[in-house]
Each structure stands twice: as C-alpha cells, then as structure tokens.
C-alpha cells in the first residue's frame, strides 16, 4: 500500500517536472542533397563541406537557443549526382524514410529543379544553393528559399559588358541543356545584340563531353573578335585548354564559377591566362573582406584546400536556418519558421554581400540577391576587375510576374 502511494507521488512529481517546460537539448537533423560525384561534384562537394563546417562551428560553440531549448545540428547527406531521378529518390528517402524537415545543399539545376517541382506538396523547407535555374524560385513554392540569384539576373549585365569591351563579333561555345546556363546565355546574347553586337555562331556540347575541338575548330574558322564559353567548371577548363591548343588568340569571356585549383587540374595557367568569368560575386576572400578571409583559413585548415567560390551559397544556408529557428522560437512549427525566413535580415555570419530588399534577405519568392562582377584570370587566380550592373528590386518585380 505504501509502495503504491510513493510510486504515485514520484510519478506525479515527474509529470509536474516535465510539464514545467524544463530546458532540453535538442538535435535538429538537416538533410543534404548534393552532387558528391560526377560533373557536378565541383560545385556539390564544396557545398557539403561548407555546410559541415558551419554546423561544426555552431555546435562547438555550444549550439544555440530556441525558446528554452539548446539546439544543435546534425546531418544526413546523400549523393544526388546532379541527376534529377537520383535527386528525387534522395528527397523521398530524406522525407519518407529519415523524417527530415529541412533540406539543404542543391548545387545543380537539373537535380534541384526536379525536386522543386514536387516539394511544394511536402511539409519540409528546402534551401537551395548554387542551382541557378530560374524556375526553382519563380514557381513560387512557399517552402523554397535560394541564396544564389538566377542565371538571367547576371546574363544581361554580362552581355552589355562584353559589348562595352569593344567586341563586335562573338562566337559562343556553351553547354547545351543545363537550364541555368541556357537562361544566362539567352539573356546575355539579347543584351549583347541590343548593344549592336553580332553573334557569328553558337556551338554546343553535352553535359558529359570533354572534347570540344570540333566545335572550336569551326568557331576559329569564323574569325570572331571574342569567344564566350559557358558550362560546368571542368568542361569550361577543357574548352579553354583546347581553344589554346587550336591557337585561338582572341579574348575568351565565360561563365562557370569554379576555383583556380579546380581549373588547374585540367588546364595549365598559360592556357587560362586572360580568360574572363562574368558571374555574381561568389565567395572570393580577396574581395569580400575579413569575415571571408577567416572562413577561407578555417576551410583550408579543415579540408586541406581552399573553398570554391560557390561554397558560400551553402555556408550561408546554415546560418539563415539558425537565425530563422531562433526568430520563430520553434524547431517544429514549419509555418512559423517559413515566415521567419521570409522576414529575415541578412545573418551576420553570412559570407556573401547580399542586397536585401526592404531589409529582408529573401524576396517574395524566396530569392536572395548579390551583386554581379567581372573576374579575370591572372597568374593562377581570379582577379576582380569591376562590378557589373545589378538591379535586385527590378529583377524581383520581374520574377513576380513569371512562373518559370
């Protein structure tokens, strides 16, 4: 009899204790879907590393407070190979099997586009990185947010820039079917032609090609004032290398992103010298200041090689999520967290110089913006030459009117 009452008393005490909202230690699991192998790995692997680094920083500082709880992050990562079917399977695994609520990473447009096309129906939040196809945010899914601006936002500025450099006849060598690159190219060519330029030919190559000599030979024969080369980093590198081997001496403008180390695995310094990359100002320690330089040191110390320019798009995702969780005061109420992200100012640990609209990092469609810039290869590094015109507010208005 006595045992019964004492057990009841203890149970009652425990219940009261639990109900008092005692502070707990929570782990929020983040799902990472990125290209960890194949052609997209040059973008995906650095992204994953950046996310891991950010999480290590947050966790080793003791986590962060959400309400009364102390929260730390953990990850489950899968290789989506930049392939749409694979990415869909990965998303299914993360959402259905692993029960994850936050998806991060997403370096490449094809894979990300596939997931974005159905993610609106799921109860998760998707943070997109380097994948630049416009439809990903233009579709207007409430649970999709992207740190990287769409390709055509930069393309127009690039076209005007090339014309301003005195180029009258342009030869284009571009990857055929990647939405990001196609959208960039179409805007670039529109702006170039509007400025009075003439396009002598547009040659294309496939997503897995390594031999562009036939196309470059044809372009060489048409004698343009300059070439424009766009594609994934390794393919751009092969193109530059083969252009040099074919004796093509005219300036080579381009769009690919990628760190010098990634280019030098394929082409030599001599073959890359003088090449241009016209893109949004991704991570570049030289340009972005002390916070960025500190990040570069930490990344190098942790992984043995410097971060790639696009890795910042992923790094910043983690701090966006952290700030949003704190602002929302919950780790489980996705509606509140979504609202928090939508209203978020730029996190102070963010590496890139975002251009907030009305103080908010993301616009109505979940899109963030940074400035555009022109970089040129000089002696083993990409040197910042000049800023290109960027109009986030204007573009955001335009984005509101379209669905893809």
């Amino acid at each position: 009899m006595r045992k019964f009452w004492s057990t009841l008393a203890i149970a009652g005490a425990m219940a009261a204790f639990a109900g008092s909202g005692m502070a707990a230690e929570k782990t929020v699991v983040l799902g990472i879907s990125d290209a960890l192998s194949g052609g997209g790995a040059v973008y995906g692997v650095p992204q994953k590393r950046a996310i891991d680094l950010a999480i290590e920083e947050i966790n080793s500082a003791g986590g962060f407070k959400v309400g009364n709880d102390t929260v730390k992050f953990d990850t489950i990562a899968y290789d989506d190979k930049a392939d749409p079917t694979e990415a869909t399977n990965v998303a299914r695994k993360l959402i259905d099997r692993d029960g994850v609520k936050f998806l991060l990473g997403y370096c490449c447009s094809a894979s990300t586009g596939a997931v974005a096309s159905f993610i609106g129906r799921e109860d998760v939040i998707m943070l997109v990185g380097t994948a630049g196809a416009r439809a990903i945010t233009a579709a207007g899914n409430r649970n999709v947010f992207r740190t990287r601006p769409p390709g055509d936002y930069t393309g127009a500025a690039a076209g005007a820039f090339i014309a301003s450099q005195g180029v009258k006849k342009l030869g284009v060598l571009a990857v055929r079917d990647n939405t990001l690159f196609v959208q960039y190219r179409e805007e670039m060519l529109k702006a170039f032609k509007a400025a009075g330029g003439e396009v002598v030919a547009v040659e294309t190559f496939g997503g897995h090609d390594r031999d562009m000599t036939a196309q470059l030979t044809k372009l060489r024969g048409l004698q343009p004032d300059a070439l424009f080369i766009s594609g994934y980093v390794e393919q751009a590198a092969f193109s530059h290398r083969q252009a040099h081997e074919l004796g093509i001496g005219v300036p080579r403008y381009g769009f690919s992103g990628g760190s010098p180390e990634q280019f030098l695995k394929v082409a030599t310094n001599e073959q890359m010298e003088g090449a241009w990359d016209l893109l949004s100002i991704e991570f570049n320690a030289e340009v972005l200041g002390p916070v960025a330089q500190a990040f570069e040191q930490r990344f190098k110390a942790r992984y043995g090689e410097p971060p790639s320019p696009n890795s910042a798009f992923a790094y910043d995702q983690v701090y966006v999520l952290r700030d949003a969780l704190q602002a929302a005061g919950t780790t489980t109420d996705l509606k509140k967290i979504r609202e928090a992200i939508a209203n978020l100012p730029v996190p102070k640990e963010a590496l890139l110089k975002y251009l907030p609209i009305d103080g908010k990092m993301f616009d109505g469609k979940g899109q963030a913006y940074i400035a555009n810039g022109a970089f040129q290869w000089e002696n083993g590094a990409w040197r910042f030459r000049t800023e290109l015109p960027s109009d986030p507010r204007g573009y955001s208005e335009y984005l509101k009117t379209i669905r893809n």
Binding site: P84, D96, R97, S109, G113, A114, S117
Partner: protein, 328 residues
C-alpha cells in the same frame, strides 16, 4: 497443388501489403519493385526463353515512359489510354528495329542492342524541345479516377498506384504464362537450345524471334509507362544501358527461363540497395561478382537452384535415401 496455394497466398499478401505497412517509403519500394519485375520479365522472354541477350530493354522502357508522358501531357490523351497505347509504340519500335537486328546472332546481336539503347538514350538527352533533355520532363499526371459519379475511385495516392501496378503485374504474368505454355513458348525454347537444329526441323525461326523481341519491347514499354505516371517526373537516367544491365542481372539472379525467377530477381535488385545500406560501390561490386559466380556455378539462376534443392530434399525425405539420379 502446392504451387497454386503458394500463388494464392502470395497474391493475398500482395493485396494486403499497403494496408499493413505504415511507412510510406516501403510502399514506394514495392511499386518500384513491381515495375522492375515487369522489365525483368521482358528480358526473360527474349533472353531466358529465346536465348538472345538484349541490352536494350532499358531503352524500350524509356520509349514507353516518354511516349505515355507525351501522350497524356502534350497530346491531352487520358492517362489510361496513354498507358494502353505506349506498349504498342514500344513494341512497334522493337519490331522495326528487330527485323534487321535479329539477322545477327549471339554477341553481335547483344552489341547491336547495346548500341540501340545508347541511341535511344542519346535521343532522350538531346531532343530537348520534346523530352526536356537531362533536365527532365515534369508534371506527368496520375491516372484519372475509374468508375462513374459517386462510385469513382480516385487514383491520387501512392497506395492507389500500388494497386494499379499490382494489377498490371498480374496481367503481365498471365500474358507471360500464356506465351510460355503455348506452342510459341516451346518453339522459343527450341530456338534457345539450338537454333540451327530448329530451323532444320522446318521452323521459321525469324518469325518467332521477332515476336519475342517485339513482345519484350512492348512489356518493357508497359513498365515504362507505369513508371512515368507513378513518378510524375521523367529524366533519361533510368533508361540507360545500366538499367538494361540491371534487368539482365535481375533475371540471371532470379532464374532465367522460369516464370517466377524474374519476380525474385526484380525484388532483390530493388530491395538489396535498401537492405545493404553499404556504399553503393560495394553493392555494385557484389552484383558484378554475383553475376560472374552465378554464371560459373549456377548458370540457371537462384530460383531453379533453390527449386532443385527443395526437390532433392523432398526426394531424399520420401525415399529415405539419397536420390539415385540428379534431375536437371
């Protein structure tokens, strides 16, 4: 008798499965397994029964998938009509392509089919205005509800699609059984054993081979159409040469030349990646080794070997002594 009760039990279990299982993901795996079993049956028809290795079944699956997607989205057909017509399209392609290809035999035929699969894949990747290329083709709809007015059954969930695919699989099994048990099936087996001999006996082998190849193409196309409307999204990757090789693996493992072999094989090839959560690389090495080892030691596949083992055990139990003769 044993076989029929076993079969009935299996069907009942298959019907009950989605209702018993709580994790959505397993239903997803089950649907993919069944789709793959149909592809495996198509390989079984041309390879297991006719003896011609075709590395093109992945490509035919792709033709069926994209045909159905295009018909239902771009041409506005009903999904049921698209799923019904796509196998016919795939079968026709197989017919046209098979007529000249079947003039060569053995290794050469296999190489030709591999090249065919690659051609299909390249077209899927490069014909961007129609297929969307590597970026993919989104928005493939699920089938429309069946029935009338208040009695209509909605097909808008994974569970519903499971039953559609299950019905399709049972249909395919019935077709396969019919073919295999008919005269056509016997002729195919004769061709597999010794084609020259069969021709000497007066059989116009080319007609039967062409039938098998076209039917196999149609079956694979059927699987593709189901896949398209289940996934809702298509990209060329699942229809590459690798997919064809996977299908061959499924049939070899499960047992070629048997009706149930491809079912086992199909299930294994979809489930193994989930069960063995080791890195994909190890898993694929094991697949390759399995192929080699099975071909050397168990050339007829797992199911026949197991069935043989069970038969021997039964014989030993019944006679009380080890069997005097081996049954092949």
């Amino acid at each position: 008798m044993m076989r029929h009760t076993f079969l009935a039990a299996a069907i009942v279990a298959a019907i009950a499965f989605p209702m018993l299982v709580t994790v959505n993901y397993f239903v997803h795996l089950a649907v993919l397994s069944m789709v793959f079993m149909i592809v495996a049956q198509s390989v079984n028809l041309i390879q297991g029964y006719t003896g011609y290795v075709s590395i093109a079944q992945g490509g035919f699956m792709g033709i069926g998938a994209y045909a159905s997607a295009l018909l239902s989205v771009d041409a506005g057909w009903s999904v049921w009509a698209s799923i019904a017509v796509s196998p016919v399209i795939a079968g026709l392609v197989a017919l046209v392509v098979g007529y000249p290809s079947l003039r060569v035999k053995g290794h050469y035929f296999a190489i030709v089919t591999m090249a065919l699969n690659m051609v299909v894949f390249i077209v899927l990747v490069n014909w961007i205005p129609v297929t969307g290329g590597e970026g993919g083709y989104p928005g493939v709809p699920m089938p429309e509800p069946i029935g009338f007015g208040d009695w209509a059954i909605e097909i808008d969930s994974r569970q519903a699609m499971y039953y559609v695919v299950l019905a399709a699989l049972l249909l395919v099994m019935a077709v396969m059984a019919a073919i295999v048990r008919s005269r056509i099936g016997r002729v195919l087996l004769a061709i597999r054993q010794n084609e020259t001999f069969a021709e000497a006996a007066g059989i116009a082998a080319w007609k039967y081979k062409l039938f098998a190849f076209s039917a196999a193409g149609a079956l694979a196309g059927f699987a593709g159409a189901l896949y398209a409307h289940y996934m809702g999204f298509l990209s060329p990757t699942p229809f590459s040469v690798d997919a064809s090789l996977n299908a061959i693996l499924a049939v070899i493992l499960g047992g070629s030349g048997t009706l149930s072999g491809p079912l086992v094989g199909g299930l294994l090839t979809v489930l193994l990646p989930e069960m063995l959560r080791v890195a994909e690389v190890f898993r694929l090495i094991i697949y390759g080794l399995l192929l080699v080892v099975v071909m050397i030691f168990l050339p007829h596949g797992l199911v026949p070997a197991l069935v043989g083992r069970v038969a021997k055990w039964r014989e030993a139990r019944d006679t009380g002594a080890s069997p005097a003769r081996n049954k092949p």
